[in-house]
């Protein structure tokens, strides 16, 4: 570093928010790859362009996914990051850890990698950022030894994620971490060995607040809900009112279907009009709770823009009971995966395939009958197929 001017990235050590540059520098003191990464960062800042080459196929024996190959386009300048591959490590559902497990992970990564990580990547994995081709297998073996396994990458089921669920949330209508752990174990083969047209994401949120953004980001979206009426503790409602909480403005007026009424004494709900959006419960958690007949709404098709545009998941199964061993959801998932695998084009997400060949064909293949809950409204156009 001595021969360089004051690097541009030094400025990013200033300011109140914790600095990732400080983190890279901490490792750079003893790890040559981390030191070279600082050089790469500086070069990118100067030239305003990435200096990583396009992909590269690397992996560990027996798997096709879980490792992202990464090579520098300036290996002569930065030999220690000439190859700088990422390993995606499947996190425990709900992102809970013992320090014992975390320390073991740190020790493995100290030995075999750059010592730089993400807790966590956007999909949810622990990201081990940067190692050499030679170290991949030994690092993987060491990870298995301490009880961790790789997550997904490429055309496979990506690492499924769950919100905190009933572990520490009273809103949870399904056991999201348990469902996700169960599905992750069920689909180990599909997570580790890419065989699908493109990625496939599974996410479960305990309620419609959707803390893992399942509706926006998962091809297969599981969101907790209830069939009966939400529970109201009128005494607790009175407590809110007594404390000066403006029930009418903050809660009743914001109900999307006008299902609530507050006369100053009692909070009344028309359960048939409630669409279980969670707003009132969010605002008055001490007084309002989800109903007791709980299960999940299954939605399909969420994804980011590439390539036909961004999709939000839409309703596929309005209500499904979610109890171990989750047979119904597993069967549905297998059916969807097979149909998509059979019909999808290269790099075609399941939503794009459904849009291309029609939801009606998908529903027929799944054996699911159309119901009004799947759409906001029926079609307006007269261009109807009767095949």
């Amino acid at each position: 570093m001595a021969e360089r001017e004051i690097p541009l990235y030094d400025d990013l050590e200033k300011g109140p928010w914790p600095s990732y540059i400080k983190e890279i520098k901490r490792m750079a003191e003893r790890n040559p790859a981390a030191k070279d990464l600082l050089g790469v960062q500086e070069l990118c800042f100067k030239e305003k362009i990435t200096h990583w080459k396009h992909g590269g196929i690397v992996g560990v024996t027996g798997y096709g996914g879980g490792v992202i190959g990464r090579y520098s386009d300036a290996p002569e300048k930065f030999p220690n990051v000439a190859s700088f591959h990422t390993m995606r490590v499947n996190h425990p559902a709900g992102w809970f850890y013992t320090t014992k497990a975390l320390r073991k992970l740190c020790d493995v990564w100290e030995k075999y990698g750059s010592g730089l990580t993400n807790f966590h990547g956007s999909t949810g994995d622990i990201i081990l950022l940067g190692t050499t081709t030679a170290n991949l297998q030994t690092c993987f073996d060491a990870l298995i030894e301490i009880g961790f396994d790789l997550g997904g990458s490429g055309g496979d089921i990506r690492t499924p994620t769950a919100c905190i669920g009933p572990a520490r949330c009273e809103y949870a209508c399904i056991d999201a971490p348990d469902i996700i752990h169960d599905l992750t174990m069920e689909f180990q083969d599909e997570i580790h060995r890419p065989r699908f047209p493109y990625k496939f994401k599974i996410k479960a949120s305990g309620c419609a607040n959707d803390c893992v953004a399942a509706i926006a980001r998962a091809d297969f979206t599981i969101i907790g809900t209830w069939k009966d009426s939400l529970r109201i503790d009128q005494n607790a409602v009175s407590e809110y009112a007594k404390d000066g909480f403006d029930i009418k403005t903050v809660v009743v007026d914001k109900c999307p279907t006008d299902a609530l009424d507050w006369d100053g004494k009692e909070l009344k709900l028309k359960p048939e009009d409630c669409v279980r959006c969670m707003h009132c419960i969010n605002k008055m958690p001490k007084a309002l709770r989800p109903g007791l007949d709980q299960g999940a709404t299954i939605l399909i098709g969420g994804k980011a823009p590439v390539i036909m545009g961004a999709y939000l998941s839409w309703v596929l199964v309005p209500f499904m009971k979610m109890e171990p061993p989750y047979t119904e959801v597993k069967e549905l998932l297998r059916k969807i995966l097979d149909w998509w695998d059979e019909n999808g084009r290269v790099r075609e997400r399941v939503a794009e395939l459904i849009e291309r060949i029609g939801l009606r064909r998908f529903l027929r293949a799944m054996g699911i009958k159309p119901v009004p809950q799947m759409v906001y409204a029926p079609r307006t156009n007269p261009f109807v197929f009767f095949d």
Binding site: W17, Y20, I21, T99, F148, R168, V306
Partner: protein, 357 residues
Amino acid sequence: MVKTDIGPPNYKLMLPEVITENYGKWKYHEILRPGVLRHVSETGDEVYTVRAGSPKLVSIDFVRDICDIADKYCDGHLRFTSRYNIEFMTPDKDKVEPIIEAVKKLGLPVGGTGNSISNIVHTQGWVHCHSAATDASPLVKAIMDELYDHFTNMKLPAKLRIAIACCINMCGAVHCSDLAVVGVHTKVPKVDHENLPKWCEIPTTMASCPTGAIRRHPDPTIKSVTIIEERCMYCANCFTVCPALPIADSEGDGVAIYAGGKVSNARRPPMFSRLIVPYLPNNPPRWPEMVAVIKKVVDIYAKNARQGERVGEWIERVGWEKFFQLTEIPFTEQHIDDYTVRSAVPGTFRTTTQFRW
């Protein structure tokens, strides 16, 4: 022979005792102050949570530091949120202050709860990605330095979620965030005729283009492709399929800003983010032009939105014309949607959990 397919550790073995004992029994929670939660169980048990922001890209030393705190105050347990925040949990109220002190000693902010700006979900950028049109971590750092107080207090009308993606692949819920920054290319890929025949399959490359801009090279002796420039909207899908079509460009690459998206089904169904600034140049290390727009929109939202309104709900109420008037962001032809490949399917499909039985 090493085992494979063992899967992740069972999360049940990672839970603190108070969580195991009250799993599924939680009755209600309250936010005691920014970054501090109290959950109360049907059993009468309580758990206090201290939430701290982290920079996502961290060293193993950082992980060991937070483990030290968890060992000292949380019986050796901690968790992360879906937005890279760290949560320290304890049933003992008296440990809350010492945890906060220890967290602050590490230089980490306590907050990210309720009507705050929580940690920014983001991607790798120039630190680790080949398709990045911009960086990610420094943009986060620059924005959060500027909006730091909104992490540590809860004075906004509602929660405000920010996401950053270094290209339009959008690894992160950029398409459904209150405010989002996304790396964009603005120049057509340069065809590397020498390497294209070696690296790429021509039919697959042509098929990768959603607007049909990639054509077989007219000279049959050249085994390559040409690009109809006016049809290219710089999505880089072709580059993903064919490395001989590099699209990154020092001058052309930059960032776009989107606003008004949300994921939660509360009140209004989930909403997509919409384009507010089509292009700003990459200006490392702190992208001041981008930060200024984000800051301005947050300030104007904070001043004008009603209590409880997310950014998108506020804009929907006052109207986009008012939004552009208030923010003084120029409205351009790029704001008008002319990407016609996409049909209107999600227009009728029910993209929310809101429905009647």
